[in-house]
Subunit: 261 residues, 2 copies
């Protein structure tokens, strides 16, 4: 039996629970940060691009569900140190029909695998991240989805409810979720930059600056290497020298000291 609440009213029906996962990767060729988007082939928002989602099963936690989604969609089995909770989105206006909550997580892939569409999606592609004057944008060369423009949550959902979204926008409130995600990552850059996991277990300072740059809204050349090294030495452990066949002095490689001690 469900316990009674302090309120006299009983609960008629529960909302559904979605796990939404923002899956990050890094393209070594283009040197750009990417996220995974899928084209929905279900109602609601059939034919819209969206963040990948799944439902939670009764015998798993939400972060296990997020990792299961990665395994099913990408075919990559990761430990939960590659996943972190973003936030939970519960606004009534976030779904058009059946009330659905979103438990949002982020997963950082150690490389950028090829994709194939899965169940519930007619297409799945990587979208590379860039910054704009008013926020961030994700593009696959054909389509571009900016993050939400609104400054506050209530402003955003008020607008969302007023006008029905065109297919030039992501489904649901996913543009808002992406905005929250980018800002969270930016805020953690100086004390827990888990986003660097997209570079794999080791990385050079240049790679790290390439990842930081779009979040800081600047070209990576403007991040001074000397200063960057000094202000991050408490986070990075030197683990040797990279070998490359390109001209120029080989770069040192580092690991995240708080994750791999």
């Amino acid at each position: 039996m469900r316990g009674t609440d302090m309120d006299s009213e009983s609960i008629l029906e529960q909302p559904y629970i979605n796990i939404t996962n923002i899956i990050w990767s890094f393209d070594q060729i283009t040197s750009k940060v990417n996220i995974l988007l899928v084209k929905r082939s279900n109602k609601p928002y059939n034919g819209y691009w969206a963040l990948p989602e799944t439902f939670m099963r009764t015998n798993e936690s939400a972060d296990e569900a997020a990792l299961r989604l990665v395994r099913a969609k990408i075919g990559m089995a990761l430990s939960n140190s590659h996943t972190e909770q973003l936030a939970t989105f519960t606004n009534r206006l976030r779904t058009p029909e059946q009330r659905t909550l979103s438990l949002a997580y982020m997963t950082f892939l150690p490389d950028k695998p090829m994709l194939k569409p899965g169940y519930g999606a007619s297409d799945a592609r990587w979208f590379s991240m860039d910054y704009t004057e008013s926020g961030y944008a994700f593009s696959d060369g054909e389509l571009t989805f900016p993050t939400a423009q609104s400054q506050t949550e209530s402003q955003y959902y008020a607008k969302l409810a007023k006008s029905s979204l065109s297919k030039a926008h992501l489904a649901y409130d996913h543009e808002w979720i992406l905005k929250v995600a980018c800002e969270r990552i930016k805020n953690k850059l100086d004390y827990q930059p888990n986003i660097l996991l997209v570079l794999g277990p080791q990385f050079t300072l240049k790679d790290a600056r390439l990842v930081y740059a779009p979040f800081l809204k600047m070209p990576f050349e403007l991040i001074d290497n000397s200063n960057f090294k000094k202000s991050h030495r408490h986070l990075f452990t030197d683990v040797g020298t990279s070998m490359s066949n390109r001209p120029g002095r080989p770069a040192r490689v580092y690991k995240l000291s708080y994750l791999f001690p």
Copy 2:
């Protein structure tokens, strides 16, 4: 119809969804930070002390539910600027019987009202916060509940599942939730100290230091007033001078500039 997942399996049953609210206040007499705990009179954990909880209704968001809980339990109607999301707790081991998720919020009351037990609780009391070597503790003079000792989430839940909790412990995983809450507040002290809302709309620097002290695990006298003022001037706006009938120079009063511009 519920949309189909990318996985072929369908979902048999959904977990329940609880709203858990950590309600903070400040006692002007004892100069201590307090939280509200209730003694449960329902299964499970009947007779145990716990954080106040409620269920979400279909026509409200989770933060609205948290504020409704405050209204019902305390009789105080607050705006959502007094509430913030903490995290969502989904571990399978967190509830003994029926699987239940907790969407955890924090509410900062502008004063410390008298309490009366409500539905689902045989008692409700304020517990004042103190720090210990290994964390924090909340006491009402009779009972004391420390925050969880474990350093990681998986460690905590492994221990929780192994031994059944005595009534000297809080119900469910609430000692873990409290640990996460205290650490979150501590981390935000230098850029978004919403915890100061427990002092009401205005406060003196001494009051602010009294609130900061337990989170920083030091007696408030060790927080240098001059340095504290300098390092928080970007957050506080001077709004005048307090009047007091006590000896000593009257203190200036401030407001949070990012909330009340």
